[in-house]
């Protein structure tokens, strides 16, 4: 092995040269943070140590700005025996029954996906999959929540196809079905697209893994890809800073490159090792690479760790110790194993053609000591890296424009009045970027590998079978609404929570847990911190009310270019359980003669709506009312009606209101709908209001009374709207207008591809 001629900055050298000037500021550390490192170590840090602290104390790894607020999740989380592992683990683990557990998590990969869309998005998917493996689970599905700038902006044509290619390529090659997600366009995401990826995995409860490096004398093994120069500075430089307005930063070398083939091998090898009982502790390598994995496993263990860094297999020449420690090369895992079993671990890895290398040992020193060719380059207390990073109480200030925004209500905007105008509005809305058919995107994703996908895109939630014998399954939905959160981050976050919760319930599943991805601007802006605090409080209060725990998630700050931050965008993933997937409720219109009805109340709520945005470019007023009591009753009703098989189909109402829900149900089912609006209802409001807590249900003949009674017993308003009819061509809105299927589909379909020139 070629050794460097450059003098290595060892602990000894650091002791002897206390006054050496160090680039702490360039690495993103503040003056007081650097001084604290010196206090912890009783000397100046070596170059390697400085790199490790700068990474572990970055916003991305330490959650230093968000920590004080995120505490609420733990404090307000309802106690549930289902929660087997929660916040602080790689991913939350939820018991499904006495044998099976599920783990799921949503994470962002926003900054890399703007710099290099395909690899940025691909490695986002890869990273979240490894979190799932690290808990002991087999990943069984992925979802993606994507937000781009305006659809007709030239840069969207660069970012969108790359991101979709990356999400698809990684998921398809690693063999995971993509079971749903969302895609939105808004100019506020122009320089800061959001790529949030969710993965879910399943395991026998007995296979739950730990990240502890425990057991003195145990062997530390690095599994997977070789370590290269890719991704150095990914978390500290890229994810923890704002893009400059000039757009001249070339951060491409900070983006990692993914290899899903190696990830597939990692999945198979890890599961084989877990099943054979060969693993004491496991941690994935993602953002912050070896630095994070070594310090977190050592900190979680009861002793220390010794690592010989020159044993790490490299794919680039001349890498210095701090480069090896900081590299974010993908598809790597760290294993802690009994030395007596190390040979078997290596042999099983070899059988799959996967590299596995012993690089260190668990010790009883209480220190993380890293040698490089026999010279000690790191000697630190691991907890000081992993657990004792800085905590900030950032200033918080309510934005000055809140009052002005609140009175600028969309309800006062000019509306279409004649039937012809409303008819045209239905078509225009169906063709608008956020409401149009997303097949161009979703058909680039495998949805059926594993053969367990019961519902996928475009259903309200993805439904996956877990057990072929019992039919037990899960439902997951991933939802966000930045516009509502911009108007009121507390209510907006709860509206997203309510929507994801309802989307799961609409399939007949019972919501049991959430994971959240919190996308915000710079935490150094007090207005952004105010939005963040309000959104977190909204989610924590909402989950407390709904009785479902927050199991983990991710915070993405610095989604802003210059002074322009994105809309605050909390994205919520809700997990539900369904006893028998055969009883899931699909999207559609059932069959001819079935009754179409609306559950929930339609109020005049147009502020923050898709209509206000599309037709007026307007964002103002107050968002719709959120009523979590109502949502709980609705969810209980849906679960009951699924069990008794009294619904043929159901569909949540959200962006675009009732009009869009009907368009989707008609286009998806291939059937027609005859609709009669309730007496006295204003057609425009009834069709386009975005009141929360509503579901369109399709009731088979003979079940109308039973369903009505079930609603009345729960105090849920139900309004019959019409019937399904195969002979009706598209949408017939009695006394108002007809829209034929061909015209509906011509508006709704093919928009994304056409916009991208395909």
């Amino acid at each position: 092995m070629s050794h460097l001629n450059v003098a290595v900055d060892t602990v000894g050298v650091a002791d002897a040269t206390p006054d050496e000037k160090q680039p702490w500021a360039e690495l993103g550390l503040k003056d007081d943070e650097y001084q604290r490192i010196r206090e912890i170590l009783g000397r100046r840090p070596t170059q390697s140590e400085l790199a490790m602290y700068s990474i572990m104390w970055s916003e991305h790894c330490s959650y230093k700005s968000s920590k004080v607020h995120l505490r609420q999740f733990g404090e307000k989380n309802p106690k549930t025996p289902r929660l087997l592992a929660g916040i602080g683990e790689n991913a939350g683990v939820i018991a499904i029954d006495e044998n099976i557990a599920v783990t799921f998590k949503v994470e962002s990969h926003n900054h890399p996906s703007y710099v290099e869309p395909k690899q940025g998005a691909a490695t986002g998917v890869g990273g979240i999959i490894r979190d799932i493996i690290a808990m002991g689970a087999r990943p069984i599905a992925v979802m993606d929540s994507l937000r781009f700038g305006a659809i007709d902006h030239p840069d969207t044509a660069r970012v969108l196809p790359g991101v979709v290619d990356g999400v698809g390529h990684y998921g398809n090659c690693v063999g995971l079905p993509n079971i749903g997600g969302e895609t939105y366009f808004d100019p506020c995401y122009q320089g800061n697209p959001l790529v949030n990826a969710l993965s879910v995995g399943v395991m026998p409860r007995s296979r739950l893994q730990s990240m502890q490096a425990s057991g003195v004398g145990n062997t530390v093994i690095l599994l997977g890809a070789k370590t290269g120069r890719d991704g150095i500075g990914g978390v500290s430089v890229l994810a923890s800073a704002t893009f400059s307005e000039s757009g001249e930063d070339d951060a491409r070398p900070s983006v990692q490159v993914g290899d899903p083939f190696t990830e597939k091998l990692l999945i198979e090898v890890c599961l084989e090792l877990f099943d054979a009982g060969l693993v004491v502790g496991v941690q994935d390598l993602g953002g912050a690479g070896l630095t994070c994995a070594l310090s977190e496993t050592a900190a979680a263990g009861d002793g220390g760790m010794h690592v010989d860094l020159e044993l790490v297999p490299l794919r680039a020449k001349g890498m210095e110790p701090q480069d090896i420690l900081a590299s974010e090369s993908q598809e790597r895992m760290l294993l802690i194993v009994d030395p007596a079993k190390a040979e078997e671990v290596l042999a099983r890895s070899r059988r799959w053609g996967l590299l596995a290398t012993e690089i260190g040992t668990v010790t009883d020193t209480g220190r993380l000591v890293i040698d490089f060719h026999g010279q000690t380059v790191v000697d630190v207390p691991p907890k000081s890296l992993a657990d004792e990073g800085p905590v900030y109480h950032r200033p918080i200030a309510e934005p000055n424009d809140l009052g002005l925004i609140a009175v600028d209500r969309a309800e006062t905007l000019p509306r279409p009045t004649s039937d012809e105008e409303i008819r045209q509005t239905v078509l225009d809305m169906a063709a608008s970027p956020n409401l149009c058919d997303k097949t161009w995107i979703t058909e680039q994703y495998d949805s059926s590998v594993f053969g367990n996908t019961v519902l996928g895109t475009p259903h309200d939630a993805g439904v996956v079978r877990l057990d072929e014998q019992t039919g037990v399954g899960i439902a997951i939905s991933l939802d966000g609404n930045g516009r509502f959160a911009r108007l009121d981050p507390y209510v907006g976050a709860q509206l997203s929570l309510a929507e994801a919760y309802r989307n799961v319930a609409v399939t007949g599943a019972t919501p049991i847990a959430i994971s959240d991805c919190l996308n915000f601007g710079s935490p150094e802006d007090p207005h952004v911190m105010w939005q963040f605090e309000r959104a977190v409080t909204g989610i924590a209060d909402g989950c407390q009310k709904l009785g479902i725990p927050v199991t983990g998630g991710n915070v993405s700050f610095y989604n802003q270019t210059g002074r322009d931050a994105i809309h605050p965008t909390p994205v919520i993933g809700v997990l539900g359980v369904i006893g028998d997937v055969h009883r899931r409720i699909p999207l559609g219109l059932g069959k001819t003669g079935d009754t179409i009805a609306l559950i929930g109340e339609t109020r005049e709520e147009l502020s923050g709506s898709e209509w206000a945005s599309v037709k007026h470019g307007h964002l103002g007023g107050v968002p719709p009312i959120v009523d979590l009591d109502h949502e709980m009753k609705l969810a209980e009703l849906m679960s009951r009606l699924a069990e008794t098989e009294q619904l043929a189909a159901a569909h949540d109402l959200s962006e675009g209101g009732l009009a869009q829900t009907l368009v989707e149900a008609i286009c998806h089912s291939g059937l027609g709908a005859q609709i009669l609006l309730p007496e006295g209802a204003d057609p425009f409001t009834y069709l386009f209001s975005e009141s929360s807590g509503r579901v369109l249900v399709v009731i088979p003949r003979g079940q109308e009374l039973a369903v009505r009674t079930a609603c009345e017993q729960r105090g849920l308003p139900i309004t019959p709207l019409g019937v399904t009819d195969a002979n009706t061509d598209g949408l017939h809105l009695r006394d108002h207008f007809d829209i034929g299927r061909a015209e509906l589909e011509a508006s709704w379909k093919g928009r994304i591809g056409a916009q991208l020139g395909e």
Binding site: N172, F261, K264, W352, Q444, G451
Partner: protein
């Protein structure tokens, strides 16, 4: 005793479990085979599943061709053993020269996942004998490199000998003459791009039409004379 159908796992195989499920649901006994092991464990037929064997290095299926197991599969196929390749498995069969032609990048250059309507062109293969010729089936097609190409002369020969097994009704990838699947001269080796193993029940797939593939080979192996169609 039910027939034993081997399902090969290459590094990067993705649909091996699903292929095994299809075998089981159709009444066969799935047997796991390993790429690096020449032994066929006494199986009666072999199913090469979809995926990205060896990470699609070089070309799809190009490395799998040189695997230990494929040496044995080639020899067994020459002796008449039924062999099916789906998606990446079809690519492996073409690379191995067990089937003519090649699968190249889709004409539109993207990976595309759609339920594909197919016409079963012949029941004179080990894997389609229970279908009625001309029957329409729906299997998911999902691939980036699924455009079937061959010399005009080869295509003419395939047509003349009735060796085009499946044809797309809505060609999703630009395949020549809408070809979705072909067979060898003996009719024991069949390759197709769309996935019958993902069409084994209405709950998880667009249809249950795919069960007929494995049911056909089981009937072929037991020599059953039953040729009543299982297709719609």
């Amino acid at each position: 005793m039910s027939a034993r159908v081997g399902v090969v796992t290459f590094p990067g195989s993705l649909d091996d479990r699903d292929a095994a499920r299809a075998v089981r649901l159709a009444g066969g006994e799935p047997v796991a085979l390993w790429h690096d092991d020449a032994a066929l464990a006494g199986v009666d037929a072999v199913f090469l599943p979809g995926g990205f064997s060896y990470g699609d290095a070089l070309r799809c299926g190009a490395i799998a061709r040189f695997s230990q197991v494929m040496d044995t599969v080639k020899a067994a196929a020459a002796q008449g053993m039924p062999v099916l390749g789906v998606c990446n498995g079809f690519q492996v069969l073409c690379e191995s020269h067990l089937l003519p032609g090649a699968l190249v990048r889709n004409a539109h250059l993207r990976y595309r996942n759609r339920p594909a309507r197919l016409r079963v062109e012949t029941s004179r293969t080990a894997w389609t004998r229970l279908y009625q010729p001309g029957a329409e089936v729906v299997f998911p097609a999902k691939h980036g490199e699924g455009r079937y190409v061959a010399d005009e002369a080869v295509l003419d020969e395939l047509e003349a000998q009735g060796r085009v097994v499946f044809r797309y009704l809505d060609n999703p990838n630009g395949s020549m003459r809408d070809i979705a699947g072909v067979t060898n001269e003996a009719g024991n080796v069949v390759g197709l791009m769309p996935h019958p193993e993902h069409a084994v029940d209405e709950l998880t797939g667009p249809s249950a039409d795919g069960l007929g593939i494995v049911a056909s080979v089981l009937a072929h192996l037991t020599g059953a004379a039953d040729t009543s169609g299982v297709s719609r």
